[in-house]
């Protein structure tokens, strides 16, 4: 299917056009993003929404080339999430006045690299895209970010690069031992008669270091608050919305099928990291004064649920992890989008200098409240089903060891309600009058993310149905790899 190759290359072409388009760059970015979505939807007849696997121009049997792309049920929700978030990110950068052409060109380049990560079937191609994501993000943070942007950009790059090289070493060991070069082939070889031939625990640990830095899990999270806070709004949306998901995606796509015994052995560690992430992230979010920092730490907390789910080896648990990732992508994207809109109007993100927005700018205030409720896991919104499933599956497997997660759930309610209370209610500080409310463009951005949040909240199976066939296959491969 040439469409798959085009999905990656069209944004890249768009980046070149946008770079040349000067002031029209935002229109170029929107056009190319929408065109890419249209192209993606044109794949529908080939059954991608019914569990069919679609390959790119080169089939995985093709010798020589690394350009092997595959779209399956695991990639699908994340590809859709990525595309939705890029519309919103483009809308959020509508008002960028400093070198808008370069800004939008980098956003399109980022889109190309992220879609490449989710579609790559070849191990090295995956790694190339994985690292390529860093380059536009580095420039976006460093060039268009806030006060501390220069340090944050380098820190972001160094931390995630350092993590990914460990992942690369793990991949290389597996690659050379298994003599297979695509994810599917590697996973199949490991359960097969060829045997493993490498220390699976070591490989799983090496892969996980890279993936857990990205996710991020708690001891590796320190790059995140800086990067999220200093990045421009579009950068924060992409970081929280999609880049973190690359970590969870990598665990499911690479680490679990390639080193299933390592996964089995280190599952308790994943659980501990997950619980620590949930509680620590939530506790930190509760004491932040900067709105962006609140959202950044809440991301760490939510990603903890992904780890809790992935510490359990059932199909439902992995589906729950995917659901949490999609939901958090939408909700965190929405939160950063709204904080960006808020900052454009008030020029502050300090909770102490905000207040009374529910009567100053009701549309913005209610959108923020909606996103906060989704984030705290209100039933009926997307945050609820995934985290509930993750905790239930965790309880079935680990029984009461899972209990500390409850603290995280309570804290989540606390920090989200604190934000709503401080920002929306109470008297407004004197400098805040005369603010304009969200306009049609901004409301469109809110709607693009809020509608899926509602739909998934009411009907969570919509995500599970997409991913189930792929998840079954991965569990099958992993089980085969564990029991010879």
């Amino acid at each position: 299917m040439w469409q798959l190759d085009a999905l990656v290359l069209i944004p890249l072409a768009g980046a070149v056009v946008a770079a040349l388009a000067a002031t029209k760059a935002k229109l170029v970015a929107l056009t190319f993003t929408l065109a890419n979505i249209a192209l993606f939807l044109s794949l529908a007849p080939s059954g991608i929404f019914r569990g069919e696997i679609v390959h790119g121009l080169f089939s995985p049997q093709e010798p020589g080339t690394m350009w092997l792309l595959t779209l399956d049920g695991l990639s699908l929700p994340l590809v859709m999430l990525t595309m939705l978030l890029f519309i919103v990110a483009t809308l959020s950068s509508w008002g960028v006045t400093s070198r808008p052409a370069a800004h939008h060109a980098l956003l399109l380049g980022l889109q190309s690299a992220i879609l490449g990560v989710f579609l790559a079937e070849h191990v090295l191609l995956f790694y190339v895209f994985w690292e390529a994501v860093l380059i536009p993000m580095f420039f976006l943070i460093g060039r268009w970010g806030y006060e501390g942007r220069r340090q944050a950009a380098v820190k972001f790059f160094l931390y995630t690069f350092a993590g990914s090289v460990f992942m690369l070493i793990g991949l290389l060991i597996a690659l050379m031992s298994l003599e297979a070069i695509t994810f599917t082939a590697m996973a199949q070889t490991i359960g097969g008669p060829a045997g493993d031939g490498f220390n699976q625990v070591l490989v799983f640990a090496l892969l996980s270091i890279g993936l857990l830095v990205k996710l991020p899990a708690v001891p590796f999270h320190t790059w995140l608050p800086d990067a999220h806070v200093q990045a421009p709004t579009a950068g924060s949306i992409m970081l929280a919305g999609v880049l973190l998901k690359m970590g969870g995606y990598g665990l499911i796509r690479l680490a679990i099928p390639i080193a299933p015994e390592g996964w089995e052995a280190l599952a308790p560690l994943l659980l501990i990291l997950g619980i620590v992430g949930v509680v620590f992230g939530a506790a930190m979010a509760l004491v932040q004064d900067d709105l962006k920092r609140v959202v950044a730490y809440s991301s760490i907390s939510h990603m903890g649920f992904v780890l809790v789910a992935l510490s359990v080896g059932t199909e439902t648990a992995i589906s729950a992890a995917i659901l949490v990732m999609v939901s958090h992508g939408l909700v965190a994207g929405l939160l950063f989008y709204l904080v960006g809109e808020l900052y454009e109007r008030t020029h502050t993100r300090e909770l102490a200098s905000l207040g009374g927005l529910s009567y100053l700018t009701p549309r913005l205030a209610w959108s923020l409240a909606f996103a906060a409720f989704a984030s705290l896991g209100l039933p009926g919104l997307s945050g609820f089903p995934g985290e509930l499933l993750a905790v239930m599956e965790g309880f079935r497997n680990w029984s009461w060891w899972i209990a500390p997660v409850g603290i995280g759930l309570v804290l989540a309610a606390a920090y989200n309600l604190r934000v709503v209370a401080r920002v929306n209610h109470g008297p407004h500080p004197p400098g805040l009058s005369g603010l304009s409310d969200l306009g049609p463009r901004a409301l469109l951005g809110v709607a693009i993310l809020a509608i899926p949040v509602l739909v998934i909240g009411i009907w969570p199976r919509i995500v599970a149905d997409l991913s189930t066939p792929a998840v079954q296959r991965i569990i099958e491969l992993a089980v085969r790899g564990v029991s010879p």
Partner: protein
């Protein structure tokens, strides 16, 4: 046709050499610009001829001292190609020097000598060529005639002399104790009988090459030469002899040292030796580079680290030869690109002091130059989408596959660390506000426009840097579609 005539086999070297001689003669009439153009063209022709010969399949042995096969021709194509690029990058500054034509001739001689070294299988020829390169390199380094350059040249020359002395000592030992021959293959046969002598001989000879490579502990010339030398000269001293030296080191290591591997009588295992030197080079180079404020010195120290990555390949063995040559070549290309940027910044009446800080705001004033610099730095770090990634991947990957995990870890950690200073350059160029010492777009004075060193050639280093960056991106991206095999195969399995 029967192509085994010596003049045909050696035609690329002859062309480059002839270009150099012509440049020297033209320089006598003070036709500097013509001389420089002649050397660039002859280098390009030599590169083309080498590439064409590399596609053949015959190998030639010339007088038992030169072994030339398609692999060597491929290396030659790289050497002459890089030579042309470096001369282009330094053209403006070269044309300003009183002896500019002579400098371009030196560049041609340096590339011809390096090409011959890569094909030598006789120690006597190698030692003569090393001396030739040392003298040429000395001239090139000093050609700019600042006190810093003179000091650098002297350091380079003295250290080079010591290394050559060691080499000659090794040669004498080899000739006297390993069977009365200077041919490397013949020496290998004597190794088994006298492992200790063989080891001493190898160490002495490898020291000379390690100096050319700029590896620890023979690295101390590198920062001075990188900082002080003429951009074209520096990029050549840095790049071209290193490719030749690395190729020769593989040969020596394989023939004289590898038979000792695992032997009980050998006092030192070659793998251990190269591993220690590799890790020491990586640590010294990286730590040194981090502290530098001068762009050239930073590149100089980082080159020591890059030599360390190449030494990893030597520790792993002959299987990594193609990967190591790829690593060294793409390093050379990226370094040449960086030097071309420096050359462009120094062209014109620029007030650039050579510091990294002084490059701030470059992205706004000269976006193409800034982009080339960013590409070069990312490639040196080894980030995917740029050529440097494939070089490092092919060496580190094989090291991991062969069980040298600790060397892979050392290599990748060194690469991550290197972003601290390579990335700092990008940060300065793109994110920092222009400082007082920023690079101005200096207007050309009317008198300058009239001279042959004027505005017409101002753009040349910039062009060279953009070309270099373009090639880095192409080599970085094309393997995604056609696979890495063609790229590695280009570097052959010889050695």
């Amino acid at each position: 046709m029967n192509v085994e005539a010596w003049w045909f086999v050696l035609s690329p070297v002859t062309i480059a050499f002839a270009g150099g001689v012509a440049a020297l003669i033209l320089d006598g009439w003070d036709r500097r610009v013509v001389a420089i153009v002649v050397t660039i063209i002859s280098a390009l022709v030599a590169a083309g001829a080498s590439a064409w010969l590399a596609s053949g399949s015959t190998s030639f042995v010339l007088a038992d001292v030169l072994l030339i096969d398609p692999t060597i021709y491929a290396v030659w194509a790289l050497i002459f190609g890089l030579s042309a690029l470096s001369t282009l990058g330094g053209a403006v500054r070269m044309s300003r020097l009183p002896a500019g034509g002579g400098v371009s001739a030196l560049v041609a001689f340096l590339s011809a000598g390096s090409a011959l070294i890569s094909a030598s299988v006789d120690l006597l020829l190698i030692v003569i060529l090393i001396e030739v390169l040392a003298v040429v390199g000395y001239g090139l380094t000093a050609s700019i005639r600042t006190s810093g350059a003179k000091e650098a040249a002297l350091k380079y020359f003295i250290q080079g002399s010591v290394a050559t002395g060691l080499f000659v000592l090794g040669l004498a030992l080899a000739f006297g104790l390993l069977g009365g021959s200077t041919e490397i293959a013949a020496l290998g046969e004597g190794t088994a009988q006298a492992p200790v002598v063989a080891l001493i001989v190898s160490l002495l000879i490898l020291s000379a090459f390690a100096l050319k490579l700029g590896a620890f502990p023979f690295h101390s010339w590198a920062p001075d030469v990188y900082q002080g030398a003429h951009p074209a000269g520096a990029s050549l001293i840095v790049v071209v002899p290193k490719i030749g030296a690395l190729s020769a080191m593989f040969l020596i290591a394989e023939v004289l040292m590898r038979p000792l591997e695992g032997s009980q009588t050998a006092p030192l295992q070659p793998t251990l030796l190269f591993s220690v030197l590799a890790i020491a080079s990586i640590i010294f180079g990286n730590l040194g580079a981090l502290r530098q404020s001068d762009f050239g010195r930073m590149l100089g120290y980082s080159a020591v680290a890059q030599a360390g990555y190449a030494l990893i390949a030597l520790a792993v063995g002959l299987i990594t030869y193609p990967g190591a040559m790829l690593l060294m070549t793409v390093y050379g290309l990226a370094a040449s690109t960086a030097f071309a940027v420096a050359g462009a910044l120094r062209a014109g009446h620029s007030s650039w002091d050579g510091s990294i800080r002084g490059m701030s705001g470059l992205a706004a004033s000269r976006p193409w130059l800034a982009a080339s610099l960013a590409v070069s730095m990312l490639s040196l770090t080894g980030i995917p989408l740029f050529a440097g990634f494939w070089g490092k991947l092919s060496v580190f990957g094989l090291a991991a596959a062969e069980g040298f995990i600790f060397l892979t870890v050392a290599g990748v950690l060194g690469s991550v660390f290197s972003f601290a200073y390579y990335g700092a350059v990008i940060r300065t160029v793109y994110f920092d506000q222009p400082s007082d010492t920023r690079v101005p777009d200096t207007p050309t004075s009317p008198t300058e426009a009239l001279t042959d060193t004027g505005v017409r050639y101002r753009a040349l280093p910039g062009v060279a840097s953009v070309v270099g960056a373009g090639v880095l991106v192409i080599i970085g991206v094309v393997p995604l579609f056609i696979g890495l095999t063609p790229l590695v195969r280009f570097f052959g399995i010889g050695g």
